[in-house]
Amino acid sequence: MSEQTTKYEIMAIIDNSLDEKAAEKQAQDSLVKRIKALKGEVTFEDFWGARGFAYIIKKQTWGYYVVLQFTLSPAALQELKKELNIDKHIVRFLVTKVDKKAPVPRKYADVKKEWEALEKERKIAEIDQKPKRKISTASKPSVEKNDEEVKSSEKKSTKKVATPKKDDLDKKLDKILEDSSIDL
């Protein structure tokens, strides 16, 4: 092989008039088969699926995204670009050289799962942080009462009979004390 080949990556958008399965077939027909016909090798395939655009492209608001990595000779790439520009089902495409620093390509579905997992963790962490502060002041002392502490709290409850608000507190305390005595 005298011709030098280079690694390229292509991202293409497929027309949204097709079904998801039909779009996947169309990607095979219009991209993979053409690359193979031009004596290229497809090293990575990823069908993202339906996705909305950030702005309107060719009077459409969404399309199917496809990402491929392949090796081709530069002359053959020009032919591929010409053919893709004529293709009816391809809304837009972008060919880039694969950077040497770029990590091994990963499937979009896997990356998406990771994002969702991270977001869940973040949300759980946010929810946990807020009530913990309230619980720490209210529930902890009632739970961690030993016999000696119970006696001390009983003394306190006898002292706090003066105001009506404290009466309610005492009733609650008594209930807790009764429960705890049963447990012990």
């Binding site: 991202m11 958008i13 950030a54 702005y55 995204y65 837009r92 770029a102 990590p103 990356v111």
Partner: protein, 78 residues
Amino acid sequence: MPPRPKKYICPFARSGITYIDYKDPKLLSQYITYYRSIQSRFHTGVSLKMQKQLASAIKKARIMGLLPTVRYDKPDKA
């Protein structure tokens, strides 16, 4: 001696990122402004090396409709 000014570290260096991919709109969207223009290095503290990568990645993402080029307010639906 007055205290030394705080040394700024590139946020990408801090998280160990050496290559910015245009296919990651979630990361890129952190570095665009309210009006969807590229955030300047002055505000984000990104190193010059990574800012060049970042800018090209954002531009590629814009071409493919992953990121908006301008802010667009949706009209109210009656």
